[in-house]
Symmetry: D2
Subunit: 445 residues, 4 copies
Amino acid sequence: MATKRGLKIATIGGGSSYTPEIVEGFIKRYDELPVKDLYLVDIEEGKWKLDIVGALAQRMVEEAGVDMKIHLTLDRREAIKDADFVTTQFRVGLLDARIRDEKIPLRYNCIGQETTGAGGLAKALRTIPVILDICKDIEELAPDAWLINFTNPSGIITETINKHTNVKSIGLCNVPVLMHMISADILGVDRNDVRMDLVGLNHLVWGRDVIYKGESKIDEVIERTLSGNIETVKNVANIPWGDDLLKSLGMLPCPYHRYYYLTDNMLQEEIEAAKTKGTRGEVVKKVEAELFELYKDPNLKVKPKQLEQRGGQYYSDAACNLISSIYNDKGDIHYLNVKNNGTVDCLPDDSAIERTCYVDKEGAHPLNVKPLPSKVKGLLQVVNEYESLAVEAGVYGDYDAALQALVIHPLVESSIAKPLLDDIIKENLDYLPQFKAVVESGRVK
Amino acid sequence: MATKRGLKIATIGGGSSYTPEIVEGFIKRYDELPVKDLYLVDIEEGKWKLDIVGALAQRMVEEAGVDMKIHLTLDRREAIKDADFVTTQFRVGLLDARIRDEKIPLRYNCIGQETTGAGGLAKALRTIPVILDICKDIEELAPDAWLINFTNPSGIITETINKHTNVKSIGLCNVPVLMHMISADILGVDRNDVRMDLVGLNHLVWGRDVIYKGESKIDEVIERTLSGNIETVKNVANIPWGDDLLKSLGMLPCPYHRYYYLTDNMLQEEIEAAKTKGTRGEVVKKVEAELFELYKDPNLKVKPKQLEQRGGQYYSDAACNLISSIYNDKGDIHYLNVKNNGTVDCLPDDSAIERTCYVDKEGAHPLNVKPLPSKVKGLLQVVNEYESLAVEAGVYGDYDAALQALVIHPLVESSIAKPLLDDIIKENLDYLPQFKAVVESGRVK
Amino acid sequence: MATKRGLKIATIGGGSSYTPEIVEGFIKRYDELPVKDLYLVDIEEGKWKLDIVGALAQRMVEEAGVDMKIHLTLDRREAIKDADFVTTQFRVGLLDARIRDEKIPLRYNCIGQETTGAGGLAKALRTIPVILDICKDIEELAPDAWLINFTNPSGIITETINKHTNVKSIGLCNVPVLMHMISADILGVDRNDVRMDLVGLNHLVWGRDVIYKGESKIDEVIERTLSGNIETVKNVANIPWGDDLLKSLGMLPCPYHRYYYLTDNMLQEEIEAAKTKGTRGEVVKKVEAELFELYKDPNLKVKPKQLEQRGGQYYSDAACNLISSIYNDKGDIHYLNVKNNGTVDCLPDDSAIERTCYVDKEGAHPLNVKPLPSKVKGLLQVVNEYESLAVEAGVYGDYDAALQALVIHPLVESSIAKPLLDDIIKENLDYLPQFKAVVESGRVK
Amino acid sequence: MATKRGLKIATIGGGSSYTPEIVEGFIKRYDELPVKDLYLVDIEEGKWKLDIVGALAQRMVEEAGVDMKIHLTLDRREAIKDADFVTTQFRVGLLDARIRDEKIPLRYNCIGQETTGAGGLAKALRTIPVILDICKDIEELAPDAWLINFTNPSGIITETINKHTNVKSIGLCNVPVLMHMISADILGVDRNDVRMDLVGLNHLVWGRDVIYKGESKIDEVIERTLSGNIETVKNVANIPWGDDLLKSLGMLPCPYHRYYYLTDNMLQEEIEAAKTKGTRGEVVKKVEAELFELYKDPNLKVKPKQLEQRGGQYYSDAACNLISSIYNDKGDIHYLNVKNNGTVDCLPDDSAIERTCYVDKEGAHPLNVKPLPSKVKGLLQVVNEYESLAVEAGVYGDYDAALQALVIHPLVESSIAKPLLDDIIKENLDYLPQFKAVVESGRVK
């Protein structure tokens, strides 16, 4: 990595409404992380957003008075060439695709969510061809670059990259960051004095322990979680866990565990929401429209407060922290999606896990995990194999793998797997080049 | 094992309606398997059945003219003392308990089945204390005896015995035997020329291949299974698999897989049946009553045809075959529940698996299994961890383990886990000594 | 496999002095194993031997009156085309190479043996390019054929085939067969009533148990081995084990274990023998010359008694037994070299192990192995990794792998690894095409 | 751990000549690591040394003006009670035992070394009963204390503690620290900017990489190691590795690897040294005598320079660093002996490995290790199983385990295992209470 010259960073999906957060992150850290060139890349359909958000980024940089050049481009290869870091925050098919991911399963009385369950499979199938394409560019144009992936489903995407490319990559999610923050807040202590012993898959991660200055505080955090009414991520309804569930678990579930542990309640909530305020995607679509209106304001020169309503808060901050730890060889702790490689002994070596990691210039070193109990192992393993099938389906356009992915998924009743999959394929066909042959064969009804 | 004197066999639950089948099995094999003493043991409540079925057994032996002594007893220790083989076919709580296992889950719109899902957990919790008791007797009175276990849930019971006793034990089920027979029949070939490459857990076992004279016939068997309307076990509704499911699986599921692969259809069928003809347990109760009427007939001197309607056919035949293979050091192939010990590499060593085994006088040697694909692994692993939690719950009366067992079970929606578990415990309390303390603590609502 | 027409078998290295044994084996089993065409293949240098032994084979077949056609050919592809079984018994570089394998290490005061230690590495390096060539022919011309490999070092060759070709292959050795026979003889019982629980690597295999009619007899066999003076294989000096060694082991070592357990004694014996009667290779060379003189006798129409002095007795018989078990789907027990695939849990899945196997038309199924104790594991693992390095060195001509193979080998003192390896390469260069580039680079001194 | 009050530390073997180094370490770090009570414990035979070194420690503390109380005691339980950390640096049988460990193997023309090979086994057998005794005290009197073990053989002792006690323990060695320092010096860079990717067993540890500011420098370090003449540890003769060995290894061996990679050279050097200057133990005995003379000087108030000739330099510094990292929850990198727990996938979970670790208040978290190549795995595994047998032998007085430990050890020719072991037992019998019964049985000749 070039340490003499300033850093070049390419952000794929640069027209995203999140961009002001990452720009703010780079500005704040400019002294330790001198980003000289920030390339915001998008595709033709996203150009109008790129123009708006890019102009805001430009104003933010000027206001801060840092020497960072903002480049707006539709030429991904130009952006990637010789980059030190590539970050991804694109969404194939935009929010309309997300809304479909939510609504198609609901037709079958099945959880509709953009990352978990059938919706997550749809999103994975759309995203995999694009991420493989990006990786080809990185392999050719910036083989030493780190790919910091925010794009969901983050675990499946990380696993795809690890299994099918030579790109050095780390997956990132704001969920563990939020779990960390909330735990510290529950304990009423400084967030910097806390570390979580966190393990699982992306959006299926358990906090085995919350360590405050070396002392285990998990029991206290669980106790207070039960008595309080803790806000978590914006994307997931905040239904209470119930005393017995949480105590018999003895760990802190992540917000997305509600889909697994409180399935019916979550489904009812989704159905109700869909009828009234709209699905989460529909809500976000409105929030986004408002954000872009805000962003257009030429007097706006900082990240607006309202972005925090968007749902992915702290994502970009986590990314900037990670990039800085690598760049500065910091040797500190992050929660990341990485290749398992024996860390969790009941999962295959080449699976992507989410884990407390030690990070230095070489990248992320997951900390060793003690054997997991059955209550965690079973769920972890079945979802992990679902993810493995999703990767196979996404990379090869393998219909059988996609079908079996839904068949074994705990949130999909098997009888509906086939019609549900067929709807997903048919309604996303523009984004599923790998499934064209299957569709032509007539297998998709 | 005594090879000079004749064999002593103790059958726990000897008053069962199945007994005539096992007696017939011993009679047929008398030349190679000289059973001199057959002890039929039962408990006080089952004495009337033991008397009826014991008298029939006596008539069968006389009719056959073999030198086998039938002993009827309520003294289990007398029966076990110095036995060469102990077989178990008891049902804790009798058919009324089974009917509860079916009906309690149905209240929650959840599959109600005596071995699979919540009903299976209930049955496991009732059975574990009794089997541990029996094993203590065997350890003391017949430490070299083989325990051949038919009692369901056979996998969980085998795992309990392996983890918590020193008894040499093998679990047995008629499902693989039926899969073998049906496959041979589908192919139109002699059943003796067929061997299945079968792997999984009890009632969750896949036929990876059907080998006819060394040739793989799995594709042909699947093809014909799809086009035909194959009868399988009596206990499971015969709903068609669907082409896509079976082809994408590429293996032969066992009949009980319908609960996992066709959940809603099976549930609807159960609900309908419960309303009309009664649950399977209720049907069986009638069949049993009729059987015992038949058995009373002093002119009946052979196993009556009608027993085949009962559901567990070939069970006893499989047991006699297994006993003979061990006794005669035959070195032939059986499908058995044994300790995994590395056979299936994605499951713990101490889990009980169901697998094609080579059997000789030393017992059952499971044949090595090639790595399983994700579509099988995921489901296998989660159900296996459910079983592991069921063992823990059953042995220690661990409420948290029982709750988490239901929480991770693919057939139980997690939101209902707690009330469902509480109903199970409350309505089975007479048979759950290990849960008394939990109930007294007030945790069970 | 063709079951209607008769079998075609190709024997590579058909000019070997062992050939009369395999021919006798096929003649004896003609009723159950109708070999119609036996192709004996050799290379130009071996033509004179092929002519002599081929003529004897022809006379043996005529004498026996069976309808088996003997084909003598130098065209390997003709022999392999559509064969049902291919057997290999060739020796690259003939006995002169073996004598070098014995003598080069002795220069360094190091065990010189054709399969174990540095000599075995030399033999592996010579043999691997040839076996890969043969496998290419099989893949093209007889993809369904079974390759039954006798060529030493049998474990390394089996591992090479499994790792680098698609050929269905089983490795065979007479050592376990002899251990079985000797154990039965020690017990004074019928060899057919005995089965060994045997596990390890080729020429490093332990008898964990000797089972006679289902009863463990290992203690008795060890006891009598210590008190008696048991003859084993011809190739290995019969030095006594010592009471403490054998009792603390608690298993039956194979004769080749003497190189590991009695290293110095064996080395002294070798040095002495080399000075007086010659190395084993030199002795065998004389025996072979005498055998071929015998074979020339036109009145000789059966396998001559003297062949038993040759050293590899029962090899061919074991091969014929194995071929018949596969062909007839027998379902019986053999001791074979197969892919580990989780059987021995402390070795990699793709290593070749030697193990008690169940054999049917699908091939060899190794029986599950209980966890091995440290005393066995450590030695097993280091020799297994030596073998893995030998495969790498042999396939890729990787000098570093070859050097490290000797460095970690328990029988090679590391200081001499480099000069010893360099001597091996220089003196075998005609047979090591894969090492030409390394030699040209000047690394070999 | 008490964070309010000052720390209490108990040093077992406090009369050691190393003690001034650890005292200096605590003085230097007093601000961050306020050791209020340092208990130096020794046994009756070591009282004269404890008095001398204790008085020096007292003068050092006074000279430094820190508020640390030095307690000299023969009462181990008083010292351990409520300690925060217990460090061990005792030597059972003193230097005379070490000299025997060196000389007994030499009689058999076998490497004689206090930690590696037969000498190491002897030391392990003497040390294990004592460490188990100490651990019983810790379990009772200071269950939350960390045991920081310097006592050799450090890996075997750590494994013993982990397998047979509940004490929280970390093993420490100066070898990795020296490898780190030397690598930094070779590169000419600041030692704080370097981190090693180090993995193996104690005294059998490989540097897979040397990372300087995130860049891999292993090739450069190897290159310069070959061209230079690098001093390493005092205890091991500095014989050059040879180009081919080191390049084919591609990693940095530890100094003790010379016993494995250059066995004969090391043996010749030992034999020569024994004849001329004496064994290492004899040399150290003289150095120690001189040191204690020095220590007596009432004007000496700091650690004398001459201690650096002693051999174990940086040991105590490493220990103070480790203690401070735990106490202050530092989250930095150390090289430590810890339970494997899946870190190295080819070793059992309960083995002790030496590995780059992340250390915080919870203790040591070994960083995940990528699969090791065969050249390392084989040697690692056989030595690890030797260690496992040594633990078994030491804990249970198991003669067979001890014999097999030597039989499989790469540095012990198996033929001499029994007489060598018998000599070890007979000549150490005063320190081997666990072997009394075996000796009485007459098995030891």
